[in-house]
Symmetry: D2
Subunit: 340 residues, 4 copies
C-alpha cells in the first residue's frame, strides 16, 4: 500500500483527493494536513467526509515535519505561492510530490511573475518539475520526484486541442476558447458573491481577457504547435456546483475526417477520454463525479472552422482525480486504480 | 385601454405575455386563444397564471373568428410555420399583429426555406413586416400593421454588436459568438431530455454549427455592417430556467474608448439597455424577470479583439417583454408601460 | 405620491422593498439608508438594483436625521434589536413606521427576552404597535403609527391555520408544522455554509425544536384559538433562492367541507390569498416573485387529521411585499397598488 | 466473480445499479435487459453510462430466456405489477432475485390490492420473499432466493424509527412524517410536470394523504412496534435531482439519552448508517452519491416529542445501492464491496 499525505485538504479539490485516497485499493492516507484546521477531526470540519472510516484528524501543516512523516507521496492542494514552500523540503527528503497548485505549471518563471504578481518562489525546483497531463505528456515523466498537475480549464482545453495542433490540423492563430465552470472552481469561500442566492440563476463572465490559466494554456498549446500561440479565453460561472464545459473555435487545416481520426488515435486505449461522434455534444452531466473527459468535434463549412467541445469534472479530471491518475502511473499501478 | 389578444398562450413566452398584458395599466386581454386548450380555464391549464383576476378561459384558435373578435392588437406566440396562417386574416381585417415566431423575421424567403426546411408560407406578407428590435430599428416602423419580433439569441447578439458594426468599430469577419440559455428557451415540452434530472448539473452545446437563429443573426449583422457577415454561433443549455448570456469575440477596428462611447450613445435615454463599465461583466441574475439587457465590452491588447458580453431574460427581452415594448410604441404609450 | 424611506436596504428583503417602492405608482423613494454602505450608489452596492432610474445613493442610517427627512412612512429592514432604536425617533417625529424585524411582533416582552436573548429594547413602544397580517388582522389598525410586519414562516402558517382555529375546526393540541425555505431566508451573508456549493443538492433541518419564529407562531395561533397553543415547528433549507412551503398536520374538529368553506370565506375578495381545490397542492413556483399565498387542505380519514399546505415568496408575502400591502392600506390606496 | 443480470435498466435506479455492478470488484454484468431498448448499445440509450468498458448492449426482456442465461443473481428494476412476472421464472430456475419494485414488499396481498389497485400477481411467491432492510432485518434472510428491497421513503423512515419502536422509546400513535425527495424519485419520464422549468424553484406536496409507500411504512413500523401503527405521511418534491430528507415527529416514551443510546447501539459496526450528535442535522448533500444514511434525534421538552431526521440518496441507499448491499450479504461478500 502506498502511503499518501495530503496538505491543504480543506478546499474542494483537497476534499475530493481525501475521498479518492481513502477508498483507493492500493493507497492509504498517511496524513491529512491543514493550515487552518490542525487538531480538528476531519469529519467535523468537513461534514462531507464524516463517513470516512477511522478517526481521521487534521495534523499541522509543518513542512519539515511532514517531509519526515514517512509518506511515499504527498499531494499539495494549496494556493499558488504557498505550495512551493512545502514542495522543497518534501522534495529534498526524497518524498514524491504531486502539486495541484500553479506553482510548477509554467516553464518560464517570467510568465509566472507576469500572471501571478510575484517572483517564482523556487525557480530551481521549477526546472525539475514536469507538467503532466497524463494522456498528453511525453514519456519518461514517471521517474520524476515532483509533478505539476494541470489546471482545470487547461485540462479541458488541451485534451481536444493538443492532438490537432501536434498534427497540424488546426491553425494556431485566432483560436477562441469559451469555458463555463461550476462554482466549486472558485474554491470554498466565505464570500457573498459565491452564496447560493447570488449564483443561482446566474451566468457571468469573469477574469477576461487575462485569466491566470491563460498563461498555462498558451504555454502548452505553443509547445504542441511548435510556435507561439495566442488565444482568446473567456471563462464564465454557471449555476452548478461541479463541471466545466469548454467550446473552442479554431480554423481547420485539414478535413473533419482527418481530425476525428487524430483524436481517436490519440485516446485509443486510454481509460478516461472519450471521443463522441461528430454531431453529438458532450454534456457535463455525464462526467461529473468521474475522472473522465468527453469531447467531440464538428466542422462548419461556412466558416471553415472546427468547433471542439469538451467536458470534465473540475474537481476530478480537473484536479484531484487527475492527481491520483498521475500517482497511479508514478507507482506503476493500473491507471484507473481508485478512479472507477 | 388597448384590447390585446394572444394566440398560442400555453408556451413559456405566451405565459409571460399573458401576465404582462394582464397587469398592463393601459392594455387588457381581449382573448387568450390556444390550439390545444380551448374551453379550459387558463389558471387550470397553467397554474402559474391561476392568480389572474377574472375567469379567463382559453378560446379556440380560429383565425377568422379571432380576426373579428374586436382586438386592437394580437400577439402570435405560435411555432414558425403556424404563425403566418394566423397573421394573414388578422392583417387583412386591419388588426395589428406582433409575431413572436420566426415567420416574418427573415427578409429573404430563400433563407427562410434553407433554415426552416419549407417554403415561406406567405412571402407577400413577409415583405410588409418590418423586423423590429426597438432600440435598433430604423424610425417609421410604428405605422406598420405587422411586426416581426426578434428571437432571443439574436436580441442578445445585436444589442452589443450592431452599434459597433454600424460605426465600423469592429471587423465584420471572424466574429465568434457563444451563447448559453436557460432551459425555457426550448419551450414547454414533454421530453425526457428537458426533464429536471437530465438538465440539472448539465451544460451542453447543441445546434452547432447551424442553429436556426444563425440566419436571423447574420441577416441583421449584415445589414448593420453594410456587407455580408458570416459568424460562428454556438448555443448551449445551462441549468437554469430563464436567461441568456452571450459572449462575442470580434476584432477591434477602433479603440475601446471609441467603442464604449458608441455603445453609450446608442443606448442613452433608452429604458431597457444598460452599458456596464468595462471590466464589469453582466450577470443573468440581474435581468431575469425584467425586460432589460445589460452589456459590457473589454479589449484584449494581446489579441486585438473586443469581448462583448450581454445578458437578457429570454422570455422577456427575448420574447414577451420585447413584444409588449413594441406594442407600447405602436400605440404611442410610454415605452416602459407595464414593463417595470 | 407617498414619500417612503427604507432603512437597511442591503439585505434581500430590503432589496425587494426598494424595487417595489421604486415601481410603485403612488409612492416614491424618499431615501434609502444603510448602516454599511452610506455614500455608495445603490446600483453599485447591489447590482440587482442597478437599473433603477435616477442616481440613487445610500444615505447614512442616522435615526434622528432620517426622522426629519420628510418621509411619510419608513420601512425598517433591520436586524431585531437594531430596528427598535430607529423606530423610536421616527415614531416620536410622527413618521409612520412599518417594521419588518421581530422587534414589535411579540405582545409579551418576556417571550421576546426568552427567544431573542435580550430584554426588549422598548416595551412602551411595543405596546403601541399592532401585529398586522393584513388578511387576518382585526379592523382598526390602519390608524396606527407603528406596525409590526409578520415573519415569513409565521405568515405561511397563519394563513391556512388561523381561520380554522378561530372557527374551532381544528384541535389546537398536537399541531405539527414542517416548513422548507429557500436560502434567501438566511439573509445576504458571507458565510461558507450559505455558499452555492454547500446549499446545492442540500436539504437540511435547522433551528429545531425552538426556532425564533416559534414564539410568534404560538402567540398568534393562541390568539386565534382563544387558548394557549404549543406546536412542533421544524424549518429546513432547500436548494432554491426564494420561496417557503409549509405543511401542517392538525387534528380535524369538523368536516373537510366545513373547513374549506371557512377558508374560502376568509379569503373571498382578498387579492393575494388563493384557496386551491382539495387534492391540489400549492407549488412555490407559482408564487415566487409575487405577493401571493396559495394554500389547500386535505382530510385523512385514517388519521382524522387535516393536512394544510401553503406557499409564499419569503421576500414578498413573507417580508417586503407584505410591508407594501400594509403601507397601501395605511394610506388608503388600493391594496394591490404596486404589487401586481 | 458473481454474474449479475439487471432487468429494467433504463430507469434511474437501473442506471445506478448498472454502474455499481460494472465497477464492483467481485461481481460483473451477466446481462442488461430492457423492455424498450433491446438491441441498442447501453451507452447510446443512456449517455451517462457511455463510459462503461466493453460493448454493452441491451438484451431483450424475455423472462424465460433470462432465467436460463446463467446469471447467479438478477436485479429487477421494473415497475410494480411487472416485476412479479419476471421473478417467477427466475425463481423457479434457481436464480437468486433481488426485486426493487413494490411487488414483494408487502406481507399482506390485500394491502397490496388496496394500494396498488390490482390483485397481487403472485401471492405464493410473495410468501417466500423476505423484506430486507439490511441493518434492520431479522437474521436468516441470506439464504432466501427472492428478496424484496425496500422503497426509498420507507428506508429513510425505518432507519431512525424502527430501533426506537422496538425499544418502546417512542409512542406508536400520532407519528407525523414529512419527506422531501429529489425529482429522480419520479423516474425517467417524458412528462412536462417533471421538466426542468417546472421543477426549478418548486416545492410541492403530492400523494397526500395516501401515498403508496404508506402501506410499506405502516406494515414495517407495525412489526417493529408489535401493534398496528397508523402514521401521517406527506411527501414533497424539491428542486434537486437526488436525495431524500425525512423529518419525523413522534411522542417520546423515554429520555433522549436512552433513545440516542438505542440508535447508536443499533448501528454500531454497520458501515452505512451514521448517527449524528443531537443538535446536528443530517444534510442530503453529504449522502448523495453514497449508500449511506445520516440521521439524528432531538427532544423537545415543550411538546414531549422527539424529532428524528434522516437523509439518503434515493437511488442508492433508497434503491440500487441497497440492492447491491443485499447482494453482497447474499453471497457472503464484505457488505461494502463495490459501495465505497
Amino acid at each position: 500500500m502506498i502511503k499518501a499525505g495530503i496538505i491543504g485538504a480543506t478546499g474542494y479539490s483537497g476534499e475530493a483527493l481525501v475521498r479518492l485516497i481513502a477508498r483507493h485499493p492500493e493507497a492509504g492516507l498517511a496524513f491529512v494536513a491543514s493550515r487552518s484546521e490542525a487538531g480538528r477531526p476531519v469529519g467535523e470540519a468537513m461534514p462531507g467526509l464524516g463517513d470516512l472510516p477511522g478517526d481521521l484528524v487534521f495534523c499541522a501543516a509543518d513542512p519539515q515535519a511532514l517531509a519526515e512523516a514517512g509518506a511515499d507521496v504527498v499531494f499539495l492542494a494549496l494556493p499558488h505561492g504557498v505550495a512551493a514552500g512545502f514542495a522543497r523540503p518534501l522534495y529534498d527528503a526524497g518524498v514524491r510530490v504531486i502539486d495541484l497548485s500553479a506553482d510548477f505549471r509554467l516553464g518560464d518563471p517570467d510568465v509566472y511573475a507576469a500572471y501571478y504578481g510575484a517572483d517564482h518562489p523556487d525557480p530551481e525546483l521549477l526546472a525539475a518539475a514536469p507538467y503532466v497531463l497524463p494522456e498528453l505528456a511525453a514519456p519518461g515523466w514517471e521517474s520524476s520526484r515532483l509533478i505539476a498537475c494541470p489546471g482545470c480549464y487547461p485540462t479541458s482545453v488541451q485534451l481536444p486541442l493538443v492532438p490537432l495542433l501536434r498534427a497540424g490540423l488546426v491553425e494556431p492563430e485566432g483560436i477562441v476558447i469559451n469555458s463555463v465552470s461550476g462554482v466549486s472552481g472558485a474554491g470554498r469561500k466565505a464570500n457573498a458573491f459565491f452564496s447560493y442566492c447570488e449564483r443561482d440563476n446566474s451566468v457571468v463572465a469573469y477574469g477576461a481577457p487575462r485569466h491566470r490559466h491563460l498563461s498555462e494554456i498558451e504555454e502548452q498549446l505553443g509547445a504542441a504547435a511548435g510556435r507561439e500561440v495566442v488565444v482568446q479565453f473567456t471563462p464564465h460561472l454557471v449555476p452548478m456546483a461541479r463541471g466545466i464545459a469548454t467550446t473552442i473555435v479554431a480554423r481547420a487545416a485539414g478535413s473533419l475526417a482527418a481530425a476525428e481520426e487524430v483524436l481517436r488515435a490519440a485516446y485509443a486505449g486510454t481509460p478516461f477520454v472519450r471521443v463522441l461522434p461528430s454531431g453529438t455534444f458532450p454534456d457535463t452531466r455525464n462526467v461529473v463525479h468521474t475522472n473522465r473527459c468527453d469531447l467531440s468535434i464538428v466542422h462548419d463549412a461556412r466558416t471553415g472552422a472546427f468547433i471542439l467541445t469538451s467536458v470534465i469534472d473540475n474537481l476530478l479530471k480537473g484536479a484531484g482525480g487527475q492527481a491520483v491518475q498521475i500517482c497511479n502511473r508514478l507507482f506503476g499501478l493500473p491507471e484507473t486504480s481508485g478512479l472507477l
